[in-house]
Amino acid sequence: MSAGLRALLVSVVVVLAAAPLGLPPFAMTLLTEALILGLFAMSLDLMFGYTRLVSFGHAAAYGLGAYACGFMLLHTDMPLLFVVFGAALLTGIVAIGVGWICTLATGVSFSMLTLAFAQLLYAISFKWTSVTGGSDGLAGIPRTPGPFGFDALTSKTGFYYLVLACLVGAFLVCFALVRSPFGAVLRGIRENEAKTIALGYNTRLYKIAVVAVAYALGGLAGALYAPFAGFANTELLFWLLSGQVLIMVIVGGSGTLVGPILGAAFFMLMEHQLSSWTEAWALYFGLIFIAFVLFAPQGIWGVATAWLQRGRNSTRTS
């Protein structure tokens, strides 16, 4: 990461940290949700952008995290902080099994297996009423304080800082991961899996590992969503969300980590703004996607960096 870019990202984090001072509560709610979705989209980027594992079922991670977190908050006295990370860990453990099965296949079949898993969880969430609340979902999920009477996270602002900390922490983990030798192997799989195998790497193990990490972080996003919204329902597991998060990654710019976060924020803002301007927001939404594919295939972050680059070059030549 260049020094300029690092300075930019640090200043963005500082601005985000100062946001509760200046933004009205309503905007803070939107911003919190955007950051949660950003974390969710970034987790998918590990699979999609860096390893070219196209998951059609990433909602499974989000929903699993949300339900696990919601269930534990509703039925135990465990503090929020433990539950959130516990739910993420649980999602990551389940993902080892999911990854093991899904990586039996490659290409479109891999996508379809991930979709099948997500839909299986969706079907279960409808029927396992005693745990999931069926079609009503889980409602009234509390933000349990603790441990030792620590209750800073129960307020809306406190919770926002938890979300921001999770996003920054996850970003640093992902960034270190993709820069490490492990990340190099992932990119090798993306560019040419056969060659990577020929170099002596057991690519399947790497793929299972990246699925587990991506699901754990996706589960973390879901686990943050449940106490943020106060509910968890079957829509969090529905394929539509899997499609949407894939779109966020692509619109933002895949394989960049930052891009998907921007994509998620853009997605939320557009949905919010368009739906306040016009009833037919989905129509314009769809047209915007099509326009992105046609005119800005490298996504928001790709366009932004190219633009910055050009600006720098032109100042240098002048």
């Binding site: 379809m112 099948a116 129509l283 047209l287 099509i290």
Partner: protein
Amino acid sequence: MNTLAFLLTQIVNALSQSALLFFLGVGLTLIFGLMRIVNFAHGALYMLGAFVGYSLTKWSGNYWVALAVAPVVVGLLGAAFEFAILRRLYRRDAHAFLMVTFGLALVVGEAVRLTWGPDALQVPPPDLLAGVMFILDEPFPLYRLFLVATGVIVAVAIWQFLERARLGLLIRATSQNADMASALGVDVKRVRSAVFGIGCGLAALGGVLAAPLVTASNGMAATVIIDAFVIVIIGGMGSFLGSLIGALLVGFVQVFGNYYLPDLALAFMYLVMLAILVVRPGGLLGKEA
């Protein structure tokens, strides 16, 4: 009700369900086989077919007119979309199509809601098919039998078309090797437009045929698209026979599952799909993907 009659009516029920699913699945699989595109808008086009069918029935007072015209209208729209947008993307990554067809699904879904309103609309079946017939003294809706018959006719027609018609031959050749077909003088671009149009038209045909059974509603797109995916995946992406087998399998699992294991029916469908994919990652009749 005696067991044999019950079993028979359930089987015909399942067959009629399979027929509807087949119209969806076969279009999706043809499009995938030829262009390697997963068409996310397929469910939306199915829904569009149902609504266009509703308007045509109302306008002409004749369901048969709707049945004949609605698939053509939607098919032409599909071909136009291919011509205007998809055609620019064949050199690009597969995820470009994912996004574009996802966008199309949103646009079509919203356009339907704006044009026809948010309420479910009743499409009455034609008088000829409104009654019941008796299977071993059990009443059975004639319309479902009609669906089974249509399913058989369309399946045979598509099969004969692919095997015998010149365009069918070109479709098979282009699916196998687009570059080689192009080198031999096949206008691959036109074949692609045609297949995308035909696939969308078949989805719309499914929509028009489903409308008298389930009404035309805004929610119908989201539920059927996944069924269609499941069928195509089970059968093998790009395989015509596979989509037929997939449709039958899913139709029977849905109908019998709903009766015997109502709690597990939905999960059971995905378990079947997972099991098949684990054993054969390319689907039953697909090439190893």
